[in-house]
Every structure is written in C-alpha cells, then in structure tokens.
C-alpha cells in the first residue's frame, strides 16, 4: 500500500456525525447560546462540554450550546428561547437582532479589550494588499464576510484590489501559513504571534505589523429580552463569574484564552471600534 493508500484507507473510516455541541443536538431546558467568530471553532465541542459540566453544579437546568455563524445564532436564540448569550461585543450595537443586556465581560491577558494585528512578511509597501492572500480566523466586526473584512482594511487606508481572504480555524493556522508562504498576510491576535516567536523566532522576525485594530471589547455574557427572574440572573452571573472554581470551568477558560469574567460597565463600549 502506498503512503496515499494508507491515508485513503483511513479516511474511508470516517463516519458522519452530528456535532454534539450544536443546537440540534442540545436537549431541552433553558439555553445559553455562545457565538464568537474569533473563537477556536475546532475546540468548540470541548468548550461546550466543559461549560455544561461546570453549569451542572452551578446553574442546574441550563444548557450551554454554541453556533458558528450569525444565521445559526439568530435561529438558535429565536427557536430555543435562549435566556442568555455570549456574543461579540459588536452585537450590542444597532445590528443586534435581539434586546441584549450585558452582564459580564470576559477578560484575557488582564484586559477586557483585545486587538487584532495584520502581519505580512516585511516586503513591499505595508498598505498595499493588492492581489494578496490574507488568512484570518474571522472578523474584526460582527459576522463579517470576506468582503466586510476587506472593507475594514480599506477603511484603514489599505489597497485591497483583488485581495483574497482565507478563513482558517485558529490564529496559529494563519501565522503558520504566513511563515510557510501559503498566504501573504495574517490578521490575528498578538497572543498568537507570541507563540510563533517562541517556536520559530526567525520566522517571527521576518513578520511586520502593518495594521493594529482599535480596542475590541471581549465577548460579553448578556441576558436576552425582557428582565427575567432576578434570582435566576444572579445565579447565572455567579455561575460564569465562578468558572475558575471548577476543573471543568478552568479547562473551558484556558481553551477560550481567557482568565475569567468581570462585571460589564457601560464605559467599556466607548472604546470599541
């Protein structure tokens, strides 16, 4: 059997499975829907499973589920009568399809804000993305499609004629693709660049930061719709704020790249781009 034959044989063993973390697979009960285009999509089954194990002790009767695009989010919230959501902060603006009341905000690297940086390999004019391939996990704005991502970069003064966006599962994929000349630029978080600096300092040295986004507020936990039972809301807030108290909660936090949750303040929204 050839090398490809080995691969082919094993590929044939794959079976069709429904994602265990999707709304369709979620059993009954009150729902908390998670939608973050910047999350590690591949790790979602683990994150959902750990948070549900954490909630089993801290917020009985609630199920945490995840979706990976805006359409699925709207459907999940409207059809499963979700009481809480974790969403990109951009959803708190006029685009929000539901009335959302932010309660907590996730915190990572000691900050409730983060940035995205655009890196290239340090050659040519930094603002010229013409005909270039740009790898990114998702968006710097809510549920952005490729055209929207390019529009943000154009708004920052870049030329994007015939530029192509390649959406990847996680930041590190985008940076490895940049290191290995599979793309010409990568739109990522600074934390992922730190990882590249450690595993391949020479490649990291060739990378140039050509754009830094404004401060982006990390995803908040929000109540959906009208004010519900105050006691339940307090329990939900306590359950998320206390994620670091259980092993499952800690696993979820680390995989989500955050340290915990802090109370939302209105002033946080002003710094968002």
């Amino acid at each position: 059997m050839t090398r490809s034959g080995v691969v082919g044989f094993c590929l044939a063993l794959f079976i069709q499975v429904a994602p265990s973390w999707s709304p369709a697979a979620a059993p009954g009960g009150k729902k908390i829907v998670y939608f973050d285009p910047d999350s590690n999509y591949e790790a979602m089954p683990d994150i959902v499973a750990w948070i549900n194990k954490h909630l089993a002790t801290k917020l009985p009767g609630f199920r945490f589920l995840a979706v990976h695009d805006m359409k699925a989010f709207t459907k999940a919230v409207s059809e499963s009568s979700a009481e809480y959501v974790v969403v990109p902060s951009a959803m708190l603006g006029p685009k929000a399809p539901f009335k959302l009341t932010p309660l907590l905000v996730s915190k990572g690297g000691g900050d409730v804000f983060y940035h995205k940086i655009l890196l290239d390999r340090g050659t040519g004019p930094p603002t010229n993305l013409e005909g270039k391939r740009i790898a990114t996990t998702a968006s710097v704005r809510l549920d952005a499609r490729s055209d929207d991502i390019l529009a943000v970069l154009r708004g920052a003064g870049m030329t994007t004629t015939r530029a192509v966006v390649v959406r990847v599962s996680k930041d590190i994929d985008a940076l490895l693709a940049l290191s290995f000349n599979q793309v010409d630029a990568a739109l990522v978080t600074p934390a992922s660049l730190d990882v590249i600096r450690e595993i391949n300092p020479a490649a990291a040295q060739t990378m140039r930061t050509v754009w830094t986004s404004g401060a982006l507020l990390r995803p908040p936990l929000c109540a959906v719709g009208e004010f519900e039972n105050a006691e339940t809301r307090a329990q939900a807030v306590a359950a998320f704020a206390g994620m670091g108290e259980t092993e499952f909660g800690r696993n979820a936090l680390q995989t989500m790249g955050i340290e915990g949750w802090v109370p939302f303040q209105k002033s946080m929204l002003k710094e968002d781009i």
């Binding site: 034959g5 080995v6 590690n40 591949e42 499609r145 390649v166 959406r167 990847v168």
Partner: protein, 328 residues
C-alpha cells in the same frame, strides 16, 4: 482563462433561480438535482460548480467552509453511485461553469473526462492522482508539510531538539528529505532510521531512544501499522518520550501524546480562495497549482502528558483543536 467567463449567462441565471435542474426520464435514471445553490449571478463573478464524489463527513466539512467563503454563485452536485455521468455532463454543460471544484478522486476524474477545458480546483484527492495534472488544474494536497506539523508539536514541546523516526527508503525518502529541510527551520534535528521491515524497529528504538527528545510516527506504509504503533507508544511512554503521530487524530485517542491531521474546514476555505485567484486571473505560480493544506488539527492527550511529565503551557491551549482529558 478569462475567455471562459464571457459565455452566455442566461442559462445559469435561470437554473440558479430554480435551484434545481431536471432532465427528461429518457436521459437518466431520475432527475439530477443540485444539492445546494448559492448566490446570484453577476457579470463580474465566476460561475462555479462544486462536484462531490459522495456526500460524506469530510466532503460536507469542505463544502460548508467553501460555501461560507465563496462570494460568487455556486451550484453543488454529488456524483454518487446512482448518477449517470452522461446526464450529469448535460446538466453541467447547461450551467456553463467557468470553474469546477471537485471533491474526491471520482469527481476529479469526471471533470477531466467531460470538462477538460474548464479550470478545475480539487480537494480530497490522493496525492498520487494529483501528481498527474494538467495546466488548468489547481488543488489542495492531502498531506501536511512537516513544517506545519512540527510547528504545532513544538507549541507543546518548545524544548524539543531531536526527533527519532523510522521509514522505508523506497516509499518515504522524499518525505524524509523534506522533513529534514523543514525541521531545520524549527531548530529540530531529525534522527531518521531507514528500515526494510518493521521487525527492525524495536532494536533501533532501543539503541537510539536515549538520543531523542521525541518519537515521530510518519505516514509510511511500512511503519504505520497497528503493531508498530503499539510498540512505539508503549516504549516511548515507558521512556517518558513524547510520541507524535501524523495524519490521524485517532492515534492521540489511543495513547500517543499528540497527533496533527488535516483541518478540512481550512481546506474548503483554501479552495474558495483558489477559485477567487483563478477568477481574478492573477497567474500567481505560488498561489495556484497543488498547494499544501493550511494549519492542522492538533489533538493532545492530557493523560499521556501527565504520565510522561509534559506540562502543556496554558497559553497554547486556545490553539489546541482537541484536548483529550484523563477522564475520557
């Protein structure tokens, strides 16, 4: 290439509006219906048909990611066992595709037989088949480059410097040469031992294990067997050596420390970008042709890490695709 985009657009528009194409009963065993139709025709957009050999989990992953990122009209068809190729040819001819995307070997074979002049982007095709390509074919290979694979391993094992592996020279000489070249960029030395039969591995392992920081099971038909996997897993674990496995995440579930495999959602996104590059007629030789998959699925076994004393840095956890916990 662009001349192909200047054909009549009426038929495609009508068919996209209908969302399905039906053939007369005499022409085929039943109606040939598009699985999915996306987008609205525009003069400056390519007309893309995505053709799958079959509807399975991998094809669905690639298709979903492709459709998510395609900003041009796409009609999706599945070849399937029941399809009459001639009827499907007629259906697709009516669509006047300017670019074909094929998922699987049979779909690519169909495209080359019936639409040899239409630029084609392939995925999920064995590399042996992909090596005999025409000038108007681009695609995404099925093998990850060692650079990508070891970059991911090195996130978990930043101090890894020497990696031991075994290979059959007749099958994997080129892969070993590529790995030696690419791993140098990561400051890793490959200790590669050629073998002619699997029974040579235990002796070589015992002789050289002390020189290595990790053991790598590469995708080699002689080496990648159940017996060799179990031997290396058990011996590496006993020696507190990380055991790293290519291609299949099942290895990590069965006791390897880590595996890196192809991320098929990334493959779909890459295919969508290739179509865009071809439609834009960029003629970039580094961006088209057969390209390697971007990134990969890193699966780590926490229980094995605990057993051999490997501490997974918390900061890299957001970049792990699957962390298998001790309780699983």
């Amino acid at each position: 290439m662009m001349a192909a985009t200047r054909g009549r657009r009426g038929p495609m528009l009508a068919l996209l509006a209908l969302g399905a194409v039906e053939m007369g009963a005499s022409a085929c065993r039943g109606p040939i219906v598009a699985d999915q139709v996306l987008g609205v025709l525009a003069p400056d957009k390519p007309r893309v048909v995505l053709l799958r050999s079959a509807q399975n989990h991998l094809a669905t992953l690639v298709t979903d990611a492709f459709l998510r990122d395609a900003n041009y009209p796409v009609a999706v068809y599945t070849l399937g066992a029941e399809a009459n190729p001639r009827s499907l040819e007629l259906v697709l001819q009516a669509l006047e595709p300017t670019i074909l995307v094929t998922l699987g070997g049979e779909a690519m074979g169909f495209a080359r037989s019936y639409f040899p002049n239409v630029p084609t982007v392939f995925a999920l095709v064995m590399n042996d088949q992909a090596s005999v390509l025409a000038h108007n074919i681009s695609g995404i290979a099925l093998d990850l480059p060692p650079f990508t694979e070891f970059s991911m391993y090195k996130m978990v094992l930043p101090r890894m410097r020497r990696v031991m592996t075994f290979y059959a020279p007749k099958k994997s000489k080129a892969l070993i040469a590529q790995a030696e070249r690419e791993l140098k960029q990561l400051d890793i030395q490959l200790l590669a031992y050629p073998i002619h039969q699997a029974s040579e591995i235990p002796g070589l392992f015992k002789e050289h294990a002390a020189e290595a920081d990790a053991v790598w099971l590469l995708t080699d038909p002689l080496v990648m067997s159940e017996d060799t996997f179990e031997f290396l897993r058990d011996e590496a674990t006993a020696a507190h050596l990380p055991f790293l496995c290519s291609t299949f995440e099942d290895f990590a579930y069965h006791g390897a420390l880590m595996s890196v495999s192809v991320d098929f959602a990334n493959v779909g996104a890459q295919a969508a970008s290739l179509v865009q590059l071809i439609a834009d007629d960029t003629q970039r030789s580094d961006a088209t042709g057969v390209i390697s998959p971007i990134g990969g699925r890193l699966v780590v076994n926490q229980a094995v890490a605990d057993r051999i004393g490997v501490v997974i840095p918390p900061r890299i956890k957001p970049f792990i695709s699957r962390l298998i916990m001790a309780s699983e």
